[in-house]
């Protein structure tokens, strides 16, 4: 089952949603979709009888300074193939609907992305900070993040000279 056949299969199944699809190194396939159609794409990818991408390998958020992106890696036991779904969104208060209803295991992944990047997930059961203390301001993984000088009385000296 090479990637070309997979691209046709995906094209025929999700034709309306896919903005762009191209190969990725390490025999992976990148699909770009609009952020509104995320839930339906994920639903078809998982529950479609031919595709059966039932394993969510990884989820991350990326800050592209003028826009945010959300990336999901899926793997199908049936086809033994990997697929990467990517969706862009605007930079001010990024919002995308959570796919916890489709993949239950993504709960903590989305909480971590919200915690470190500030992307809100509509419909997430328990969207709160996961790793940082609950009274922390700012989202560290953003490109424009300034390191805090002091936290609860503990001074945080940060060297500038890390090339």
């Amino acid at each position: 089952m090479e990637t070309k056949k997979l691209i046709e299969l995906l094209g025929e199944k999700l034709s309306s949603f896919i903005v762009k699809a191209d190969k990725m190194p390490n025999n992976d396939l990148l699909i770009l979709i609009k952020k509104e159609s995320l839930l339906s794409v994920m639903d078809t990818l998982k529950n479609d009888l031919e595709l059966k991408f039932n394993v969510l390998m990884n989820h991350l958020g990326v800050d592209y300074t003028e826009s945010f992106a959300v990336i999901y890696n899926l793997y199908s036991f049936k086809l033994k193939k990997k697929v990467t779904v990517k969706a862009y969104m605007e930079h001010e208060n990024p919002e995308v609907d959570s796919i916890e209803s489709v993949f239950k295991g993504v709960n903590w992944f989305e909480r971590e992305t919200y915690d470190l990047l500030g992307i809100r997930f509509r419909g997430h059961s328990n969207l709160k900070r996961l790793l940082l203390p609950s009274d922390w301001e700012g989202h560290p993984l953003r490109k424009d993040y300034i390191y805090p000088e002091e936290y609860n009385g503990l001074i945080l000296k940060r060297e500038e000279n890390c090339k």
Binding site: L132, P133, P140, Y145, Y147, P148, Y151, N152, L154, I155, L156, K157, R158, E159, C162
Partner: protein, 167 residues
Amino acid sequence: MLERYNIVNRFKEDHLFITTKVETALNLARANSVWYLLMGLACCSIELMQTGGPRADIDRFGSLFRATPRQSDLMIVAGTVTLKMAPRLRRLYDQMADPKYVIAMGSCANCGGPFTHSYSVLKGVDKIIPVDVYLPGCPPRPEALTEALIKIQEKIKKEKYLMKDET
């Protein structure tokens, strides 16, 4: 409250630590049974376990590991102290019974180590608790930790214990 013994140190002026016979005996006893608190945070905790293991065994120095801070007199801060962990570490240090000592094990505990560029790491545990022995290394070898323990024992042996309680 009963007045504390004040075994006057006749040579008060020069700060030579002349401990009396009684004090040497007591310090010897305190030095040879230092019970350490199981405070494994990160990579150094694995080396801490290895020091409790068969090869470099710190049970030889009479030091058991205790789970509660109440019964332990040495806290080995083994690993990175993050900002979320700092208030809890300070509380654990406070809850230890009194003649207590601290070994900052590993460069993470000494000065933040490799994570000086991180936003959520406390740069050095001596910002929140007084440290007696700084143990460099990332992670330090079990022999280095044993040597740090011996340094703590030497410090205990030289301590003036039965003095008037100024603090």
